[in-house]
């Protein structure tokens, strides 16, 4: 373990976080709020930690995979701790554990909240709360790579640990430029959505907040009733479309810009993602049509918004789906495990892994019919490497283990089945709302402190796709000589 390099890199990340606080500070100043000072304080504290860390001189410049994982895991935990300071200092969230929960929820683009009344919060604080979604969506490491090219080749180790999906590929030979392209696409999508929401009649501040929540697939709103508060079909359609776009692989947009307009239709993961959404919307629409809503258009409106919101792991709510029938609720629950595509801002297990798991299942069955046959699992036309397949199986198992362990801890609070299970599924998959107490109109405020800390960590575990956090909790990971 190259601790000097790890801490120096964390210092760089914290400097980036200090830079990311500036927009919130500006918003706070624009609205002439008293507590703009909390942002000054936080930036000051961040810099006083980060600058000495950056000054560390490195003897050994080699960075191996384990260093990359350590930077990402520790970096995200530190970021969430420091990011909680504005909430705590301003008094918006009096308990530090609650503030940490809210910030982890923000950075990991979960959107689970412990706030009961959002609308009374100062604007600067609200802006910071949603801006964490925007940063966390594409990733802090990717941002650091785009801004600070000095990390160079070493960056790929960190980018791999942070980016969602298997084998996060580079678009162009240089890591730094790949990061710039990704952020470029991200910024364009953000601007277009803000513009469209403004056209649809949303106030500018709200348009910013909801855009951050959408493109980061986060789910923080400035309204207590989330997107449902506007009760506008056009706003819901815009947000649905942008949630869908943010849940797809950003590399596809790059190929489209490069002239390959049919790239999404050739990508098997995208087709699978689209198929899952279409089937779920269809089933839920038919199910709730007679029971909850009276006409088919209304059913379609709410089911499509909710399905896309959950599958992309955004977690916006336009209606109280707690009242839907059990069949629809179970579909929503299953979708919580699937999540977005690799290379998107979405969370959970990712469509590509689910798709591969199905293909592996099919192969295992065929293998019994023809014991000596050699089948290779294919994605599109390309055969998938066996090592990748075993990684997918391993990931699936770890995801379920973390889920079960989480449920066990939350069960100490002695709540109902729906709340206990869905709260872990919704935080591990970075979705936000679950069922029961933590459902569409509820929130996480009534949970015990132990559960809140556990869920905060589970959110980070989920956002970083299990490995980094599990690795740093392994004693042999830290040993200088591990045999």
């Amino acid at each position: 373990m190259n601790l000097r390099l790890v801490f120096k890199s964390i210092g760089l990340l914290l400097i980036c976080e200090a830079i990311a606080l500036i927009p919130s500070l500006i918003v706070s100043l624009i609205y002439k709020e008293q507590n703009a000072l909390v942002f000054f304080d936080t930036i000051g504290i961040l810099l006083s930690f980060a600058v000495p860390l950056c000054m560390i001189s490195i003897k050994n410049k080699n960075m191996y995979a384990r260093d990359g994982y350590a930077i990402v895991a520790l970096g995200w935990i530190f970021m969430s701790l420091f990011g909680a300071l504005p909430f705590y200092f301003s008094g918006a969230i009096p308990s530090f554990i609650d503030a940490f929960f809210e910030t982890s929820s923000g950075f990991t683009t979960t959107g689970a909240s412990i706030l009961t009344n959002i609308e009374v919060l100062p604007r600067g604080i609200l802006f910071w709360r949603s801006f964490t979604h925007w940063i966390g969506g594409m990733g802090v490491i990717v941002l650091t790579l785009a801004i600070l090219p000095s990390l160079g080749a070493r960056g790929i180790q960190m980018m791999k640990a942070e980016s969602p999906g298997l084998n996060p590929g580079k678009l162009v030979p240089k890591v730094g430029e790949t990061a710039k392209i990704l952020y470029g696409i991200y910024i364009v999508i953000t601007i277009v959505e803000i513009f469209l929401l403004r056209l649809a009649g949303m106030p500018l501040f709200d348009a910013f907040i909801h855009t951050f929540g959408t493109v980061g697939t986060g789910g923080f709103s400035s309204m207590n009733a989330s997107v449902g508060a506007y009760n506008s079909v056009i706003i819901e359609i815009i947000i649905t479309v942008f949630m869908f776009l943010s849940g797809a692989n950003f590399a596809l947009y790059y190929y489209m810009i490069k002239g390959n307009l049919r790239a999404p239709f050739k990508d098997s993961e995208f087709k699978f993602y689209f198929g899952i959404i279409a089937v779920s919307v269809l089933l839920i629409t038919l199910d709730i049509n007679a029971n909850i809503f009276n006409n088919i258009w209304e059913s379609l409106r709410y089911s499509s918004f909710q399905v896309v919101s959950i599958v992309t792991t955004t977690g916006y709510v336009s209606t109280d789906f707690e009242k839907w029938s059990m069949f629809s609720k179970i579909i929503i629950f299953i979708l919580m495990f699937i999540g977005g595509c690799a290379g998107s801002t979405g969370g959970a297990m990712k469509n590509i892994r689910i798709l591969l798991l199905f293909k592996i299942m099919k192969r295992e069955l065929l293998q019994i019919i023809h014991p000596r046959a050699v089948y290779s699992v294919r994605l599109g036309k390309k055969a998938v490497d066996e090592r990748t397949l075993s990684e997918v199986l391993g990931f699936f198992f770890m995801y379920i283990i973390v889920f079960i362990a989480g449920v066990l801890i939350i069960s100490l609070d002695n709540m109902d089945w729906g709340t206990t299970i869905s709260s872990v599924a919704a935080t591990l998959g970075n979705i936000g709302p679950g069922f029961g107490i933590v459902g569409a109109v509820g929130n996480y405020s009534s949970l015990s402190d132990i559960s809140k800390v556990a869920l905060s960590l589970i959110m980070i575990v989920g956002r970083l796709e299990i490995y980094p956090i599990l690795l740093i909790s392994l004693p042999s990971f830290w040993k200088r000589v591990s045999i």
């Binding site: 080749a153 960056g155 790929i156 162009v172 030979p173 240089k174 890591v175 730094g176």
Partner: protein, 450 residues
């Protein structure tokens, strides 16, 4: 520049490592493990697939590529890759072709396949060994300005007059026409100024006009002896090229080869050499073939470890100069520390040739010494260069960069503060840990000093 490298083996990896800082490099290979290594350590894009396949080449962006380098292990694959690549739009192509059968028709091949450069590691290695034979006991020899300027590495031993001498005193004691450009002391590389003192066990790199270097070597006690007898162990491709070259230089060659069939083949191809069927690491055999009377012993079987061991045995038994061929680059330093006089790495030579070609727009020759930690670069000064007609002492050179030699038509100048650089000069620069791609880089105020 956009560069595509086909083959992620030792040469491909080394090239990518050196090119990826300034260029956009894409590597294609069929072996996942080789690619994984490159992907984890280098800032490059890796694509799994065959470089012969059109779709893989298109995916790698062959249309926009400025250069395609094919360095897989098979000559034929390299040729086809370059041919396809060129047809698909690569601006330039470089292929590694090593089979002596092809080597004879190289110019025809080059024309027919529209190759911009062909590299033959074995031929290049043989050339390099033959060149160093002229300077016998001085170790590595590189040449610049078409052979008129040479660089030698000399290991300082206790009995040499140079040990303990300040650099400023050297011109008066020996010759003013040479320059000591680099001192290697243990792990450190020093680009010295006049106040530095040479110590025992240092290695020094001396640059100057060929004849001056020759006499300098003579003065400091490493007098170049004319070589007469050379023993080569291992009758591979390099041995064939080398035996021919040495024979032209009137040096007698004895080749040890373990394989009987190969011996017969060799004796047909090299009628003037003595071919001996036997194991070169066998001490008895070496002694019976009077190794102690050999001026040089060159170990170049296919196995690095065997080469190192045999060279050491030969040295112990009295061979005056021992040279070992080594493919694994990380062995090079170890071998030199063990006391092997000279280490030849065909892969390194090939890589350096290609690197020189890549930066060819400005750079005439480029040599990397001491595992690439220092570079010696030859430029031709263009008219619009910023450093023309300024006295050298007024140029603000960054730390660890020196202008070592100026070659002007028939003159070879070891520069001093009052000299100036003129248009059309060849300038040789020594730099440590820098990436200098054009002459103006050296004065662009300490950029990249970190």
């Amino acid at each position: 520049m956009r560069i595509i490298i086909i083959g992620a083996g030792k040469v491909g990896y080394f090239l990518a490592e050196n090119l990826c800082k300034q260029n956009h490099v894409t590597i294609i290979d069929r072996n996942m493990n080789a690619l994984r290594k490159a992907e984890e350590n280098l800032d490059v894009l890796c694509i799994k697939g065959s470089g012969v396949s059109t779709s893989v080449l298109l995916e790698a962006g062959i249309k926009q590529a400025n250069l395609l380098i094919a360095v897989t292990s098979t000559d034929e694959v390299n040729m086809v890759c370059c041919l396809t690549g060129k047809k698909l739009g690569a601006a330039q192509t470089i292929a590694r072709i090593r089979d002596p059968e092809y080597a004879q028709d190289l110019s025809l091949l080059k024309e027919e396949l529209d190759l911009d450069m062909v590299v033959n590691p074995e031929q290049a290695a043989a050339d390099e060994i033959a060149r160093s034979m002229n300077f016998s006991t001085a170790m590595n020899v590189e040449s610049f300005a078409k052979g008129r300027v040479r660089l030698v590495e000399i290991k300082i031993t206790k009995d040499m007059a140079l040990a303990g001498m300040k650099l400023n005193d050297i011109p008066s004691r020996f010759s003013s026409q040479i320059l000591i450009g680099v001192i290697v002391r243990g792990e450190d590389i020093i680009i010295p100024d006049g106040e530095k003192v040479i110590e025992e066990d240092d290695s020094i790199y001396v640059i100057g006009k060929s004849s001056n270097i020759y006499s300098f070597c003579k003065l400091v006690g490493k007098s170049p002896v004319k070589l007469k007898n050379v023993m080569i162990m291992g009758g591979g491709r390099i041995a064939i090229y080398l035996a021919n070259l040495l024979m032209e230089m009137d040096i007698k060659v004895k080749i040890l080869e373990i394989d009987k069939e190969k011996c017969i083949e060799l004796s047909e191809m090299l009628p003037e050499s003595l071919i001996i069927n036997g194991d070169g690491s066998d001490e008895e055999l070496l002694q019976s073939e009077n190794i102690s009377n050999m001026d040089a012993f060159i170990a170049m079987t296919g196995i690095d470890e065997e080469n190192i061991m045999s060279a050491l045995i030969a040295k112990q038994n009295g061979a005056k100069k021992v040279i070992a061929k080594i493919s694994r680059l990380n062995y090079v330093n170890v071998a030199q520390n063990l006391g092997i006089d000279s280490v030849i790495s065909p892969k390194l030579i090939t890589s350096n040739q290609i690197l020189t070609y890549v930066s060819r727009n400005n750079v005439e020759t480029l040599h990397r010494i001491i595992e690439g930690k220092a570079e010696i670069i030859e430029f031709i000064v263009e008219r619009n260069s910023k450093i023309i007609n300024t006295k050298l002492k007024n140029l603000k050179l960054p730390k660890d960069v020196i202008i070592a030699t100026i070659v002007r038509k028939s003159e070879i100048v070891i520069p001093h503060g009052d000299d100036t650089i003129k248009e059309g000069d060849r300038v040789i620069i020594i730099a440590k840990n820098k990436n200098i791609t054009e002459l103006n880089d050296i004065i662009s105020n300490n950029r990249g000093k970190a």
